[in-house]
Symmetry: C2
Subunit: 436 residues, 2 copies
């Protein structure tokens, strides 16, 4: 007798680490899933670039194809899982899938950061689901928490550590006092950083994730290119020494806040108080700290990446989409609140008001501190603390560190541009923002 159980067909685009993990988890959880859903989730086709490549998981060769459209167009495939990465090809595939009324699960943050609004709008018009838990911090169910757990709340601010490689590097610099280049080289050897580390250490990956978070948290369609992005390359061991002295830890943060006139969205290393929860998020781990009107502060922590962590997130989405499918309740509602996806401008970074850590390298001569203090005062920047180190060698510059009270970024930049022109200031002044 043939089985009466409803089958839900899944097509995979990509069978790398994450794809293999997905195949493995679906197989391992087949019985549990069937019991929960009353249906079977079955992988029907998998598109790969090279059919003969060895895989991390055993799959029936008949499922493998090098033709992406053969997966998307297969009438038995109801859910397309996009794991090819990048934002160009992937966009074509996902658009085609939506047009064919296939539901989409994707782990692709670049795709959503750049083309999210277009894809969500199309999906909504076609009553198709797009789920993307794995796109932001694989092991942290932050998208689900924002979409569902906080559904009736109003989110005010998000602060997060969303790039594991960057956090690994800054954790090592904090703990071991080593230089950025050294730690990066080690991270590359250990496989925690890519040969070309730019996506990670220059903040681009984090900015992709921030754009997706803005979409979900604020229902805001933001222009990805407007996000302020600053990477890790300028950080020196001396910054970590001073951070410690002042009770801070330097962390690779993404920050987003809703304002009347737009969204504040920025990616940069920041000093955080060492007793704050985000300061304890170390190594390759990720966390997102959410401040909302009713709930107050909450935090979601876990492994940022890794084959199985990302696969768990993808599979949880496949379950949700399957549940919607079985319930005839599909239809992408990626965002919260009303109106959905209003195009909100990203606020000019100059308008930012925060506290700053400023590190000046100056000649040890009378009047320098007075000059700098005057410059800051002229720009409405008020000083909270000053530390001037004793002279180390007669011909070497001395370090002056100033912690400011809240000041406007545009004023700080103007002041530093002038300071850096002073003959007594011998290096470009280091600016680090304080987040608390």
């Amino acid at each position: 007798m043939a089985s009466e159980v409803r089958e839900i067909g899944v097509g995979l685009l990509g069978l790398g680490n994450v794809g293999s993990g997905v195949v493995k988890l679906l197989a391992e959880n087949a019985a549990a899933v069937e019991q929960r859903l009353g249906a079977r989730v079955v992988v029907r086709k998998i598109a790969v670039r090279a059919a003969e490549k060895r895989r991390l998981v055993d799959v029936d060769k008949k499922l493998i194809t090098t033709d992406v459209n053969a997966v998307i167009d297969d009438p038995s495939v109801e859910i397309v899982v996009e794991l090819v990465g990048g934002d160009s090809e992937a966009r074509d595939y996902v658009l085609r899938a939506i047009h064919k009324k296939k539901h989409v699960v994707t782990a692709n943050k670049a795709l959503l950061a750049i083309h999210g609004s277009e894809l969500f709008a199309l999906a909504e018009s076609k009553d198709v689901d797009i789920y993307f838990e794995a796109a932001v911090c694989g092991g942290v169910p932050i998208i689900r928490a924002l979409r569902e757990g906080l559904a009736s709340d109003r989110i005010q601010e998000l602060r997060g550590i969303v790039n594991g490689t960057s956090n690994f590097i800054l954790t090592a610099m904090t703990d071991e006092g080593r230089a950025f280049e050294d730690v990066l080289a080690d991270a590359q050897k250990a496989g925690y950083a890519e040969a070309d580390p730019s996506l990670d250490v220059d903040g681009i990956d984090a900015a992709h994730k921030l754009a997706v978070l803005c979409l979900v948290a604020f229902g805001a369609k933001v222009n990805f290119d407007d996000i302020y992005v600053e990477g890790l390359r300028g950080l020196a061991p001396i910054d970590f020494e001073y951070a410690k002295k002042f009770g801070f830890i330097i962390k690779p943060l993404v920050i987003a806040r809703a304002h009347e006139d737009g969204i504040e969205a920025r990616v940069h290393p920041a000093m955080v108080p060492e007793r704050w929860l985000l300061a304890s998020v170390s190594g390759v781990n990720n966390a997102v700290y959410v401040s909302s009107a009713a709930l107050g502060n909450s935090m979601y922590y876990g492994r940022g990446a890794g084959m199985m962590a990302t696969a768990v997130a993808v599979v949880s989405d496949v379950f949700e989409v399957s549940k919607n499918l079985l319930a005839h309740a599909s239809g992408a509602r990626p965002v919260r609140g009303v109106p959905t996806q209003k195009p909100l401008p990203i606020r000019d970074m100059g308008k930012l008001s925060t506290r700053y850590f400023l590190r000046f390298a100056v000649l040890d001569q009378p009047g320098v501190l007075a000059q700098i203090a005057r410059l800051l005062a002229d720009h409405q920047i008020s000083i909270a603390q000053v530390v001037q180190e004793g002279k180390r060698a007669p011909d070497k510059p001395v370090t002056v560190v100033i912690l400011t009270h809240e000041a406007r970024e545009s004023n700080v930049r103007l002041a530093l541009a002038q300071a850096d022109k002073l003959s007594s200031v011998v290096e470009k002044t280091r600016l680090l923002r304080i987040a608390e």
Copy 2:
């Protein structure tokens, strides 16, 4: 023309703090909800004990009744939100609601800890939803994370701080070095602890939550009375001093771990390493740290209680239940994995293997340490560190603190029972478990 929008009727049992918050959030989010669900969520009836009492929120008097059954039986009520608390009356109400095929949202941990299995079984047989995000750590969406985010993962261990009052008290004892009774009195004055603080400081509330977590995390029907529960009353400032010396912080933990032969489930104050994330969860905040096979470690943090935090959780459940309703996809599936709700025994506490902090008060005379060390060795307890303080006064006992390697709880108890009979041991020996 009459509105064509589908309405979903909600009935509230209870209109205290949380109930008022729910009414407020539903009103404030009405437009957003309608846009998301394509339906209107409407409060139809509210049962209260005293109809004339002043409320925190304005409600139409026609909605108020003192007859609970009038709410449950109202044909226009599809979702019953149970906010009366306690486990006896609430059980009757929820059973009646399920029998009448009403979906249930509850914030009642005692009810679920004691009668959860009975209620879930009935709900499953009637295809009725029971949702209960607010029952465990109001502001932390831990139930949703376990049910959905980790759906394809296998949970190995949970460790959590789930009682805000206890955490508030231990945080103050850590930071200020004060005695338990002092801090408790202050907490009572500030409204952070009840006049009868027993539910909180004796670990009962935490044990209720732990029972619910076991149900969701392991699909395990545990016997609530078998959970090992130890409260805070035995803790003295000296324990916090030693904790600090050894790099630990004392936290009010719940711990659950799946073993072949049952569930390890325990509630007690424990020493945690000060660099571990749970050590940074302070004040009235809650957090649950989850270890699972695929995801590794993840943590969920937020406000444990409070009117609006709990209300947000209740309302998020009302949305989920509404979604299921609209999709004709109702039917309680509170637990994960296969088989659902197998009755799993709670493992005997004597089988526990962990590290211990032992604080002995002994007479300062030759041979005492040797005696204690011999006793421990005789019970296969191996010593990791010993600290003996110098004599403080000739007639006063001295303190000997021993940190053990992993040892079996039954052996430790036997050894301490014998130690406490030694003439040189002048106080009951203090035992604190170490969690790391």
